[in-house]
C-alpha cells in the first residue's frame, strides 16, 4: 500500500540528515518499479525486510540483460533517535480539500510535484507540517520534541559523530541563552533530553547535584560529543571584576556555584581558604566547571616588587589572599646556593650602583656583617691596619673629603669598614678628634636612650652628663 510509503517521515530527522542515496539510483529505475512495496515490504509488513535481497537485482542484472551489480542492503538500520516506525503510517491522516486521507510513501519521500521514484529521505518538515503547522523543525515548541524523538540516552544507535552533528535550534543562539533566565528557564521537562544528557550539563554546571533539571537527565558520556565552552558572563569582563568579585560572592554565592567550586577560589585564595566555604568542593559528579588560572592583578606590574612594601605592610591580609609566607621569603631570605633570580645575572658587578643609593632596602634581606662584609673581606675589599692604603684612588683627596660620601651612604661604608677605622680620627679621647656629628644629631636624646654608644668615642666623659 502506498500509504505505507510514508516510510521514514522522520527517519532522517536528526540522526540521518538527508544522506545521499547509497548505491541504488531510484530515478533510473522508475520504469521498472511501479510500487514502493515491491522492494520495501517492511514498510508495510513489520515482519518483512525493509530492503530487497541483493539477489533480486540479478533478475535483470545477470550479466547478459544488464551488467551485474554489487548492491547490498544495509546491514543495520540507519542510526536514529526517532520514535517513528512504519506501522504508524496507517494511523496518520491529514485533512485535504477532499476530506481526510491517510498518508502514502510519496507524501514523505517524493517532493511535491516530483516525478515517480525521484525519492529522497524524509525531511522533518514533513512531520512538522502536521505536528506544528506554520513552524519549522527547530522552531517547534520544546514540548513537541519528544513526540517524534527518543531521549538521547535511549537512542543507543547514535554514535558520537551523529550527536556532534545535531543541528542547534535558533533559540540556542539567542543572547542570554546561556544564562539562568535563558536556558535555565527552558530546562524543564524532557525536551532537553532529546539532544542532551546529564554529562553535557556537567561541562559547565558544577552544581549539577543541586539542579533538579540536571538530575532529571540521565547520564550518558556521548552527550559530551556536543562541544561547548564555558564562557564567562558579561559581568566577568568588567575590568574591575577581579577587585569586586568578593562582594558578589558574599551577596549571593549560589550564582557563583553554577560554574565554580571551591577550587576556583583556591586557585588564588590558597592561604585563606575560608573564602571558599560558600561553594561546594570539586567532585567527579560535579563536572568540570570554570577553571580559573592564577594571574597577578594589574597592580602588580610596573616593577611592583620594588614598591610593594607599603601595601604589604599596610594590609597584609590582602596579600594573604593569594600569597603564603614562603612567597615572601623567596626573596627576603637570600640563599647562598641560588643562581640568578631576584637579582639578575650581572648584579654582582652592578650592585655598587644599586647599593650606594639603596635603590632597594638591602638590609631587609641582607645582614651587613654576614653578607656584605664577609664577601668584601674575602675579596680584599676591607680595611686592614692604618687607613690610607689608597683603595679609593678616584680622587687624591678622598680621605679628607669623605664626609659627604660617608653620611650619604654609611651603610655602604660599613660593608668594608669597622668602627675602629673611623675612630682613628673621629674620637674624643684619641686620634684627631674630628667631630662626626652632623645634621639632626640629638645628643641628649641618644645619650638618654643609650649612653653606652657615647662611651665608644667619649669614654666616661660623655658631654652633658
Amino acid at each position: 500500500m502506498k500509504g505505507l510509503l510514508v516510510a521514514l517521515p522522520l527517519a532522517t530527522l536528526l540522526a540521518a540528515p538527508l544522506r545521499a542515496q547509497e548505491g541504488f539510483d531510484h530515478l533510473k529505475h522508475q520504469r521498472v518499479f511501479p510500487s514502493c512495496i515491491a522492494c520495501h515490504q517492511g514498510a508495510e509488513n513489520p515482519d518483512a525486510e525493509m530492503w530487497p535481497r541483493a539477489e533480486s537485482c540479478a533478475a535483470c542484472h545477470d550479466g547478459s540483460i544488464q551488467p551485474r551489480v554489487s548492491w547490498q542492503p544495509p546491514a543495520a538500520p540507519h542510526p536514529s533517535n526517532l520514535k517513528f516506525v512504519h506501522d504508524l503510517v496507517p494511523l496518520m491522516t491529514r485533512r485535504t480539500a477532499t476530506g481526510t486521507t491517510t498518508l502514502s510513501c510519496r507524501d514523505c519521500h517524493i517532493a511535491a510535484g516530483g516525478s515517480w521514484m525521484a525519492v529522497r529521505r524524509a525531511a522533518p518538515e514533513g512531520c512538522v507540517a502536521c505536528h506544528a503547522p506554520g513552524l519549522s523543525h527547530l522552531t517547534a515548541p520544546d514540548s513537541l520534541c519528544s513526540t517524534c524523538h527518543l531521549p538521547l540516552v535511549r537512542a543507543t544507535t547514535l554514535q558520537r559523530t551523529d550527536i556532534a552533528g545535531f543541528p542547534a535550534p535558533p533559540s540556542h543562539g539567542q543572547p542570554g541563552f546561556t544564562t539562568r533566565e535563558g536556558h535555565g528557564a527552558l530546562a524543564r521537562g524532557q525536551s532537553c533530553a532529546v539532544c542532551h544528557a546529564r554529562d553535557f550539563c556537567m561541562t559547565c554546571h558544577v552544581d549539577a547535584p543541586e539542579q533538579a533539571a540536571i538530575q532529571a537527565l540521565e547520564p550518558d558520556p556521548r552527550a559530551r560529543a556536543i562541544v561547548v565552552r564555558l564562557q564567562p558572563p558579561a559581568t566577568h569582563r568588567d575590568p574591575t571584576f577581579l577587585q569586586r568579585h568578593g562582594a558578589a560572592v558574599r551577596a549571593d554565592a549560589r550564582r557563583c556555584s553554577t560554574c565554580h567550586t571551591q577550587e576556583s577560589c583556591l586557585a588564588c585564595h590558597a592561604p585563606s581558604q575560608r573564602v571558599a566555604t560558600a561553594l561546594p568542593a570539586a567532585a567527579p559528579a560535579r563536572g568540570t566547571g570554570a577553571q580559573p588560572s592564577r594571574r597577578p592583578p594589574d597592580s602588580h606590574r610596573d616593577n611592583f616588587a620594588n614598591r610593594h612594601r607599603s601595601l604589604a605592610a599596610t594590609a597584609p591580609a590582602t596579600c594573604a589572599g593569594c600569597h603564603v609566607r614562603t612567597d615572601c621569603f623567596n626573596c627576603h631570605r637570600p640563599n647562598a646556593a641560588a643562581g640568578p633570580g631576584y637579582h639578575p645575572a650581572d648584579f654582582l658587578t652592578r650592585h655598587p650602583a644599586a647599593a650606594y643609593s639603596r635603590e632597594m632596602r638591602c638590609s631587609d634581606c641582607h645582614n651587613v656583617g654576614s653578607f656584605c662584609a664577609k664577601c668584601h673581606a674575602a675579596a680584599g675589599l676591607v680595611s686592614s691596619g692604618t687607613l690610607g692604603a689608597g683603595y679609593h684612588d678616584g680622587s687624591r683627596f678622598f680621605s679628607v673629603g669623605h664626609g659627604q660620601a660617608a653620611r650619604q651612604s654609611l651603610e655602604t661604608c660599613i660593608g668594608c669598614h669597622v668602627e675602629r677605622d673611623c675612630l682613628t680620627c673621629h674620637s674624643a679621647v684619641g686620634g684627631r678628634r674630628f667631630n662626626p656629628h652632623g645634621p639632626g644629631f640629638d645628643a641628649a636624646r641618644m645619650r638618654r636612650k643609650n649612653p653606652e654608644m657615647c662611651t665608644a668615642c667619649h669614654g666616661a666623659a660623655i658631654p652633658g652628663t
Binding site: 614562603t326 631576584y342 650581572d346 653620611r407 668602627e419 639632626g440 654608644m453
Partner: protein, 501 residues
C-alpha cells in the same frame, strides 16, 4: 651546640616529626640548591718608596706598573694587586615543615631551617655559616578571632622583618576590619636568622653586643573597602644595661578612592635618634592595558644604638619616580620607569673633594609573546649617582611549552664605572636556564651562565675575570594524603622564586 650536633639534632627532630606524622597532616618541602661561584678581588701590597718608578705625567708606580699611594713620610707605598681567584660551591638544603591535625583544632607547628655547606676550596660565599640555621620554628594556635604563636618567628612590618624567639599574638575583629598585634621575645639580628651575638655576623671583628636584645612590638591595623591603615611600634632593649637598642614607630596607609586607583604611603620615625627615617608615597593607576605609578620616597638608613653609626648622622635622600606599563596587545608589553633623587645636605663638604650628591636611574623594556609558549623580554637600563653608575642591556628568550617545562636563554651586558676608585668594569653574561616539573612533587632546574668580566684601569691593576657558573636545584614535596590530594592548586603551583614566575 656545635654545628654538626645541631645538624644531627635537627635531622633527628625532623625525622621524629615525620615519623609521628602519619596520623597527622604534614607538609614538608625540601629545596636543595647548589651553584659554583667564583670572583676575584684585590690584594693589598706595598713596596719601599725607593723602589717606586716615576714616569713623567703620571704618578708613582711599582716596577710592574701598579699605581701606588705614598703617604708623606711613610717608608712604604701601598697598592692593590688583583687578588687570588675565590672559588666556592655553596650547597644548601632548605626545609619547610608544617604539621597540623595535632589533636586540637587550630593547632599547628611550623618550622623552616637550612643546612648549608660550601663544597669549594674556601668558604667564600656568604650564607653557609653557620651550617645549620633555623629561620622559624613555632607552634601556632589559630582561631577566627585570634592567632597565637610561640617559638622562633618572624614579624613583617614597615619597620622590616623582625625575627625573635618568643611569643606573639594577633587579635582580629573581621567584621570591623580591625587587627591588633603584639609580640615579645629575644630578638635576632636584622636580615638574618642569627642573634646579634653570633660570630658569623662579625667577620671584621667589629663592636658586637654581648647579649641578645629583648624585642617587643605592637601593631594595630584597620582595613576597610576603600582604605587600610596600620601603625607599628618596635622597641629593642639591651637586657644587660636596659638601654635602648632601637625604638621606632611606623605608619602606613592605603586608599582606593575609585576603581583602578590606589594611593599608598607610609613613614617611620626613629624615636631613639629623634629623626624621621624612611617614607614613601605613591599614586598608582592600573587597568588591564595601562598601569602607571607616580611616587616620592625618602630613604634614611637605620642603625641600632649598639653601633656608633647613628652618631655619624646619616643623611636621607629624597626621590621622585614614575613608571608606566602599556599592554599594546596580548603579545606586546612595553614599560618604562624613571627615578631622580638628591641627598639632603650632609654638611660635610670640603673644598678639595665634592662627592656626587644626586642621581637618577631609568629603564625601558618590552615583553613580546610572538607565539604560544614563547616569551621575549628585553630592556635597557641606565643609572648614575653617588658611588657608581651603570648602563646596560639585558634580554631573555623563554620557551615554555607547558607549565611543567621552560627553557630560558639570557644575555646581558653592563658597564659600571665607580666614583671613588678607578675601576670601570664591564660584564657580559650569556646563560641558559631550564626548569622541569615532572610531577607536582618534584621540580628540577639547571642553569649555566658564562661571565666575561673586564676591569679597566690605566695601570696594571686592570684584570679580566671570565668564569662559568653552574647552578642546580631540586625541590621535593612530601605530605600526607590531605596534602597531596586536597591541596589547593595555588599552593601546588606556587612559584619558588622570582625567576620561575
Amino acid at each position: 651546640m656545635s654545628s654538626p650536633r645541631r645538624a644531627a639534632a635537627l635531622a633527628l627532630w625532623a625525622a621524629t616529626l615525620t615519623g609521628s606524622a602519619a596520623a597527622q597532616g604534614y607538609r614538608l618541602r625540601l629545596d636543595t640548591r647548589v651553584q659554583s661561584v667564583a670572583y676575584r678581588g684585590v690584594r693589598l701590597d706595598s713596596i719601599p718608596v725607593g723602589d717606586t718608578v716615576s714616569t713623567p705625567g703620571r704618578g708613582p708606580t711599582s716596577p710592574d706598573g701598579f699605581a701606588v699611594r705614598c703617604l708623606a713620610g711613610a717608608p712604604y707605598c701601598t697598592f692593590f694587586r688583583p687578588g687570588a681567584a675565590q672559588r666556592g660551591a655553596p650547597l644548601t638544603t632548605t626545609a619547610d615543615l608544617t604539621l597540623w591535625n595535632l589533636g586540637m583544632r587550630g593547632l599547628s607547628v611550623h618550622a623552616a631551617g637550612r643546612l648549608g655547606v660550601d663544597l669549594g676550596t674556601a668558604d667564600v660565599w656568604p650564607g653557609t655559616d653557620p651550617a645549620v640555621q633555623l629561620f622559624e620554628g613555632y607552634a601556632e594556635y589559630a582561631m577566627p578571632r585570634a592567632t597565637a604563636r610561640l617559638g622562633r618567628q618572624i614579624v613583617a612590618s614597615r619597620l622590616g622583618t623582625m625575627g625573635f624567639d618568643g611569643a606573639g599574638l594577633v587579635l582580629r575583629e573581621a567584621r570591623r576590619g580591625l587587627e591588633l598585634q603584639g609580640f615579645l621575645g629575644w630578638g635576632l639580628a636584622r636580615g638574618t636568622a642569627l642573634p646579634v651575638t653570633s660570630p658569623a655576623l662579625n667577620p671584621l671583628d667589629d663592636f658586637q653586643p654581648r647579649q641578645r636584645q629583648l624585642a617587643a612590638g605592637l601593631g594595630a591595623g584597620w582595613s576597610w573597602r576603600l582604605a587600610d591603615v596600620r601603625v607599628d611600634y618596635l622597641r629593642e632593649v639591651d637586657p644587660r644595661s636596659d638601654y635602648f637598642v632601637s625604638e621606632r614607630v611606623g605608619l602606613e596607609a592605603a586608599v582606593r578612592p575609585v576603581p583602578h586607583v590606589r594611593l599608598a604611603g607610609g613613614a617611620d620615625y626613629d624615636l631613639a635618634a629623634g629623626w624621621w627615617g624612611s617614607a614613601e608615597a605613591s599614586l598608582a593607576y592600573a587597568t588591564p592595558r595601562w598601569s602607571a605609578t607616580l611616587g616620592a620616597r625618602r630613604y634614611r638608613p637605620h642603625f641600632d644604638l649598639w653601633t656608633i653609626w647613628g652618631a655619624f648622622s646619616p643623611v636621607a635622600y629624597r626621590a621622585v619616580n614614575g613608571a608606566v606599563t602599556f599592554a599594546a596587545s596580548p603579545q606586546l608589553d612595553v614599560r618604562g620607569r624613571y627615578e631622580r633623587y638628591r641627598y639632603d645636605n650632609a654638611e660635610a663638604a670640603t673644598p678639595l673633594f665634592d662627592a656626587q650628591g644626586d642621581g637618577w636611574r631609568w629603564e625601558v623594556g618590552t615583553t613580546i609573546r610572538p607565539l604560544p609558549g614563547w616569551i621575549l623580554d628585553g630592556g635597557y637600563r641606565r643609572e648614575f649617582g653617588p658611588g657608581a653608575a651603570a648602563a646596560g642591556v639585558a634580554g631573555t628568550m623563554t620557551y615554555a611549552p607547558s607549565r611543567r617545562l621552560s627553557v630560558t636563554a639570557l644575555g646581558s651586558t653592563v658597564d659600571r664605572p665607580l666614583e671613588f676608585r678607578y675601576n670601570d668594569a664591564i660584564v657580559r653574561a650569556y646563560g641558559l636556564d631550564a626548569q622541569l616539573e615532572p610531577s607536582p612533587r618534584l621540580r628540577v632546574s639547571l642553569g649555566g651562565t658564562y661571565y666575561q668580566e673586564i676591569h679597566r684601569r690605566p695601570d696594571a691593576g686592570a684584570f679580566d675575570w671570565n668564569q662559568f657558573r653552574v647552578s642546580a636545584r631540586v625541590v621535593l614535596l612530601f605530605g600526607t594524603g590531605a596534602d597531596e590530594g586536597g591541596l589547593p592548586p595555588a599552593i601546588r603551583l606556587l612559584p619558588s622564586g622570582r625567576a620561575a614566575r
